[in-house]
């Protein structure tokens, strides 16, 4: 049984087939990358899987159960969490509080207990805080937990989102360009964090443009082009696939040629 699978999923935006008939299956504990040129439909695909877009065609299976078009918060209960390419951080809360929000599903949600601050709520707050501190340490942000997220640098926020998503204890974690905008050192840190996550048995699916990172850490890679599946396989297989080279890496090669000509 796969941790997450899509069957012929697709969506149109104003007559444009943004994603069309995409199927893949990710095994538990795998690091699975989705790559493709800009506009290939990677983000749209992510948004459908995580319940932010309604998929008019196809199915999404999470641990063998059909979860197609369930609301995002229900998907989170079923064990799916994600980060965002264009940061969706809670800027007015501290870094630690951001991660504590991630504990939401594992906390008692009785509002009356919260209003009267029953002893159980106090203990739970303490437990959530401790857990959040541990996760901040995992992504290397221990020192800045008390600072408002709005004051933190971009690279730190990327990792903060990962810590927050992990706080929900997902079975499947979708990482949306985790290394975008990161320098070499930060990318190496993200790399290490992703490996640690996968080592815990969490299935990681990522969209990423940093090919070096993708080739290094992914067990398998799924290549999209213009909303359709172009290829799927290990890093070596994808790299040597002529269609991929033409459609994706070819564009880069052209760019490099232009650079070389300067």
């Amino acid at each position: 049984m796969s941790a997450l699978a899509t069957h012929g999923i697709g969506i149109d935006f104003g007559g444009v087939r943004a994603v069309d008939d995409v199927s893949f299956s990710v095994k538990r504990g795998e690091i699975f990358a989705i790559i493709g040129p800009n506009g290939a439909g990677k983000n749209t695909l992510f948004n459908m899987i995580s319940g932010l877009y309604q998929a008019p065609r196809g199915k999404v299976m999470l641990e063998g159960r059909d979860v197609t078009n369930l609301p995002a918060h229900v998907l989170a209960q079923r064990g799916l969490s994600r980060t965002f390419q264009n940061l969706q951080v809670f800027f007015r809360m501290t870094a630690l509080e951001n991660v504590m929000v991630g504990r939401h599903l594992h906390e008692n949600r009785n509002v009356l207990a919260h209003l009267f601050r029953l002893p159980s709520v106090v203990a739970q707050n303490r437990a959530s805080r401790k857990r959040a501190e541990g996760l901040l340490a995992l992504v290397g942000l221990s020192e800045i937990g008390h600072r408002p997220a709005g004051e933190l640098p971009y690279g730190a926020l990327k990792r903060l989102e990962i810590a927050r998503a992990l706080a929900a204890e997902p079975k499947v974690l979708l990482l949306d360009e985790p290394a975008a905008g990161c320098n070499a050192v930060e990318t190496a840190e993200v790399d290490a964090v992703i490996q640690k996550i996968a080592a815990q048995g969490i299935t990681v699916i990522l969209v990423e443009h940093d090919m070096k990172l993708v080739m290094k850490i992914s067990n398998r890679i799924h290549v999209l082009d213009q909303g359709r599946t172009l290829a799927e396989g290990t890093a070596a297989e994808v790299r040597s696939n002529p269609a991929v080279v033409a459609a994706y890496l070819g564009a880069h090669a052209g760019g490099e040629a232009a650079n070389a000509g300067r």
Binding site: L52, A76, R103, A168
Partner: protein
């Protein structure tokens, strides 16, 4: 221990002010102002839970305020219900109405939500104006005094203490809520709804919780004001009152418990002090509000707090 002070410091300050003020001032006029400040603070505290924490605007909360006020006027007068039971009924009705209206209305965002809540408030006020048989119509109606255990509650001093103690409790509950999973969920929704959803937060549910809670706070405040004044008119539930609540919350500081009280105090006390300007009273009030908003953009309390934090000590 440090976290205890950070959490409950505000509540203790409010409690200290409530207790100390009667020693500083003796005239019942000032106690009356104090009671009014506490009553409005209650409503503004509720608005602030909704606007400052959950980030959802309401321009119709005077409707819930009015439901509380008319409950303690209509039920004892026409149905011989004891005032304190009428108060509880009013609060429950306001809460239920918020629950029912909130579900569809809170799907709207920003300006659309503002207009929808505005309409809601105006509709409620219209009911009070038109059901003249029960409410006295546009002229309003007298409110029978509250009686508790044979004690007729009247006068500024009695209401000073009742509203003061209620405010301290309301602030305590609000502080508890903010530092809880519910409070974190509300603040998260304010900053990013989409991120809240993927973390498992049922956004509709939490918006509704904030809406119902704020309606309950407003209804209690409305009932208190009616019982204190001994008179209720449709203006109690009117549009201007809703605007006043929002202005108090914004002026004092959205997302600040203490700011709610400062905002309510300022807009209650200032008009009293500005009477020296006679005809120009409203101009002076407006000018002061504009100046406050320009120089203390985040509201009085949060702006001053960040100013103190930044200054080298």
């Amino acid at each position: 221990m440090q976290s205890f002070w950070r959490t409950y410091g505000i509540v203790l300050i409010v409690a200290a002010v409530v207790v100390a003020l009667p020693f500083a001032v003796t005239s019942s006029f000032y106690l009356r102002i104090g009671a009014l400040v506490f009553i409005f603070s209650l409503a503004v505290l509720g608005i602030n839970l909704l606007m400052g924490f959950a980030g959802q605007v309401s321009l119709g909360h005077a409707g819930f305020f009015g439901i509380g006020a008319y409950a303690v006027a209509v039920l004892p007068t026409h149905f011989a219900v004891p005032s304190w039971i009428a108060l509880i009924v009013g609060v429950i009705v306001a809460g239920l109405l918020a629950f029912v209206i909130g579900r569809p209305i809170l799907k709207l965002k920003g300006h659309y939500l503002a207009v929808a809540t505005l309409g809601m408030g105006i509709l409620i006020a219209m009911v009070f104006t038109n059901e003249a048989r029960f409410t006295g119509g546009p002229d309003g109606m007298p409110v029978p005094r509250l009686e508790l255990f044979g004690w007729r509650v009247r006068g500024s001093e009695a209401w000073y203490w009742i509203s003061g103690v209620t405010l301290v409790l309301a602030a305590l509950l609000a502080v508890n809520l903010i530092d809880s999973p519910t409070g974190r969920a509300l603040r998260a929704i304010h900053d990013s709804e989409v991120a809240s959803r993927v973390l498992g937060i049922d956004v509709a549910r939490y918006k509704l919780i904030a809406f119902v809670l704020s309606a309950i706070y407003a209804a209690i405040a409305g009932a208190y004001l009616a019982l204190f004044d001994g008179l209720v008119t449709p203006a109690t539930a009117g549009f201007l009152r809703s605007i006043e609540f929002v202005t108090m919350a914004v002026l004092g500081g959205l997302g600040s418990i203490f700011g709610s009280i400062v905002g309510a105090a300022l807009l209650t006390i200032l008009p009293q002090m500005l009477t020296v300007f006679h005809d120009y009273e409203h101009i002076a009030l407006g000018a002061i509000m504009i100046v406050f908003m320009i120089f203390l953009r985040a509201g009085i309390v949060p702006s001053l707090a960040s100013l103190f934090r930044r200054s080298p000590s």
